[in-house]
Every structure is written in structure tokens, then in C-alpha cells.
């Protein structure tokens, strides 16, 4: 096999790998159903009194939904770690901006 043929074959092979990259369509549909169920649970907090669990339930559901979409639909779980670093570095800085802004207003507000 020539080098060019070998390269072509491997590229085709990697295309097939790419097609299998992540999950099957059935897997994506299962993830979407789970996300829809979590959204339903979130909305139910508007109608049902969750008491002291109200805030923790909403925040946990929000975080779980966020990471499920990022990990599975955006393929970050299966992709190169550099992509995760690019995204999570921005997310970390954004959360820090939020924490520092809130802390500043809490400590220095009149």
C-alpha cells in the first residue's frame, strides 16, 4: 500500500470514527427525554410547594441540565481536553465575576 493510499484509508477510517463520535441518535433522544423531565420538575416548583428544598432543587437541576447538554450534546465529554479547558476557563471566570460582583455589592453597599 502506498503512503498516499494508506493516508486516504486512515482518513476514511477516521471519518467513520467521527460518525460514531459521541452517541447514537437513540442515545441523544434518551438524553433529551431526561432533560425534558428535569425541565418538567423545574416548572413543577412553580406550582408545588417544595419548602426549604425549593432553591437547592432548582439550582441542582440547572447545573445538571447545563452539564448534560455541554457534555453530551456538545460532545465535550468525548472531545479533546483542550476544548474543555477553553470553555471551562471562561465559565470559571464568569462565575468568579458573579461572585465578586455580588460580594462587592454586599460589603460596600450603603
Amino acid at each position: 500500500m502506498t503512503a498516499a493510499t494508506e493516508t486516504h484509508t486512515e482518513l476514511n477510517h477516521s471519518h467513520d470514527d467521527h460518525a460514531q463520535h459521541g452517541m447514537s441518535n437513540a442515545g441523544y433522544i434518551r438524553i433529551a427525554i431526561i432533560l425534558a423531565a428535569m425541565t418538567g420538575l423545574e416548572v413543577s416548583t412553580y406550582y408545588v410547594d417544595f419548602g426549604s428544598l425549593f432553591l437547592p432543587v432548582l439550582l441542582i437541576l440547572m447545573v445538571v441540565k447545563f452539564f448534560v447538554v455541554v457534555s453530551y450534546f456538545m460532545h465535550l465529554k468525548f472531545d479533546n481536553k483542550l476544548f474543555s479547558f477553553c470553555f471551562y476557563a471562561g465559565l470559571f471566570l464568569a462565575v468568579m465575576v458573579y461572585v465578586i460582583a455580588l460580594a462587592t455589592f454586599k460589603f460596600f453597599a450603603a
Binding site: E10, L11, H18, I29, V43, Y46, V69, F73, A89, L93
Partner: protein, 203 residues
């Protein structure tokens, strides 16, 4: 074949040598999305600080229509499913499936934006203008910026449908669809945060 070449092939560079061995387009998209986290982080922080600052005009609890917004949120969430199905079809070189799912995604996105326009109109009619209060200003800025992002996404999706039909994408179509898909999913995850922090948790 060298390890570097295999690595490039695995990550869609298709023979173009990059210093990371990864697709430069994909690295750039992830960096862009990281910077977008900062943009929305700032906007969400501002809203959380100002949402209780209402001297005149309606308060958040008076203008939010949770059942309506819940349906909008569900529609946007489902558009992420159709988007990922479009990416999957593109990776299987199924142009017909790709254009179908991209079109459905754009339609769901347009429904979401239409709902947002309706919501803004209803809120304005109830007395919440952009300059009515700090709550109004920060709310319209945050959700308006998100709506603009969704609109840009719809334009990209429809452009992509047109480009695929004319078969004018040079190189790998799947990567182009995947990049736009990343942007679309990002818009969805930002709405997941906005829906909880802005609408479901009372001020």
C-alpha cells in the same frame, strides 16, 4: 502514517497541520464560547443585583408568565436535540437529513424568538419599559442579548441549509455543521441558566 497525522485526522483537520493537532476552527469556536460565558456572566450578575431595584413600575412577579416561558424553554431545549441530530446526519454524510434537522432547528428557534417578542410586548403593555426601573433595564438587556444570539443562530442555520443545498462548502461539511451546532447548544445552555435564575427563582 505518523501519530501526528492520525491525530489530525481524528479531529477533523483533514491533512492540514496544526500546532495542536486539532482543528483550528473548533479551537476558535470553543475559545469564542468561553468568552461568551464572560459576556453572559456579566449580564446575569447585573440582573441578579438589580432585579429587586424597582421604585416604579411592575415587579418581576407581576410581569412573568411562567407557563408561557416554560413552553418556550421546552421548545429551545428540544431544538438542541434536533441540532445534534443534524450534526449526526452530517457526520453520516446524509445531506437530506442534515438539511431537514437544520431546518427544524431553525423553526424551533424562530418559535422561541417569536415567543420572546410576544413576552416583551405583553410586559411593555403592562408598564415595564426599558427605562422604567433597574429591573426592567437589566431584564431586557439580558434576555434581549440572548434573543439576538438565537436570531444570529437562526440566520447561520438557514444560511447553512442554503449552502449545503448548493454544495458549496469546501472541505468537511460535518465540521461546519458541528461548529454551528456548538454555538446553538451554547445558546440553549445559557437559557437553562436564565430560565432558572431569572424566571423560576423569585426576586
Amino acid at each position: 502514517m505518523s501519530d501526528v497525522a492520525v491525530h489530525e485526522a481524528d479531529h477533523g483537520t483533514h491533512g492540514h497541520t496544526t500546532s495542536t493537532g486539532l482543528s483550528n476552527n473548533k479551537v476558535a469556536m470553543w475559545l469564542f464560547l468561553g468568552s461568551e460565558c464572560l459576556l453572559f456572566g456579566g449580564l446575569i450578575s447585573t440582573y441578579m443585583l438589580y432585579r429587586g431595584r424597582v421604585s416604579v413600575g411592575p415587579r418581576p412577579g407581576n410581569v412573568f408568565d411562567i407557563p408561557f416561558t416554560s413552553v418556550s424553554s421546552f421548545i429551545l431545549l428540544m431544538s438542541s436535540l434536533t441540532m445534534v441530530l443534524a450534526v449526526s446526519a452530517a457526520q453520516n454524510r446524509d445531506d437530506r437529513g442534515t438539511t431537514l434537522w437544520l431546518s427544524v432547528t431553525a423553526l424551533l428557534g424562530a418559535t422561541f424568538v417569536g415567543g420572546q417578542v410576544y413576552e416583551f410586548t405583553a410586559m411593555y403593555n403592562e408598564g415595564l419599559g426599558f427605562t422604567t426601573s433597574l429591573f426592567g433595564s437589566s431584564f431586557y438587556t439580558l434576555t434581549g442579548f440572548h434573543g439576538v444570539h438565537v436570531t444570529v443562530g437562526i440566520i447561520m442555520l438557514m444560511s447553512l441549509v442554503g449552502i449545503i443545498k448548493r454544495s458549496t462548502i469546501p472541505g468537511d461539511k460535518a465540521e461546519v455543521v458541528e461548529l454551528i451546532g456548538l454555538y446553538w447548544h451554547f445558546v440553549d445552555v445559557i437559557w437553562i441558566v436564565i430560565f432558572t435564575l431569572v424566571y423560576l427563582i423569585p426576586a
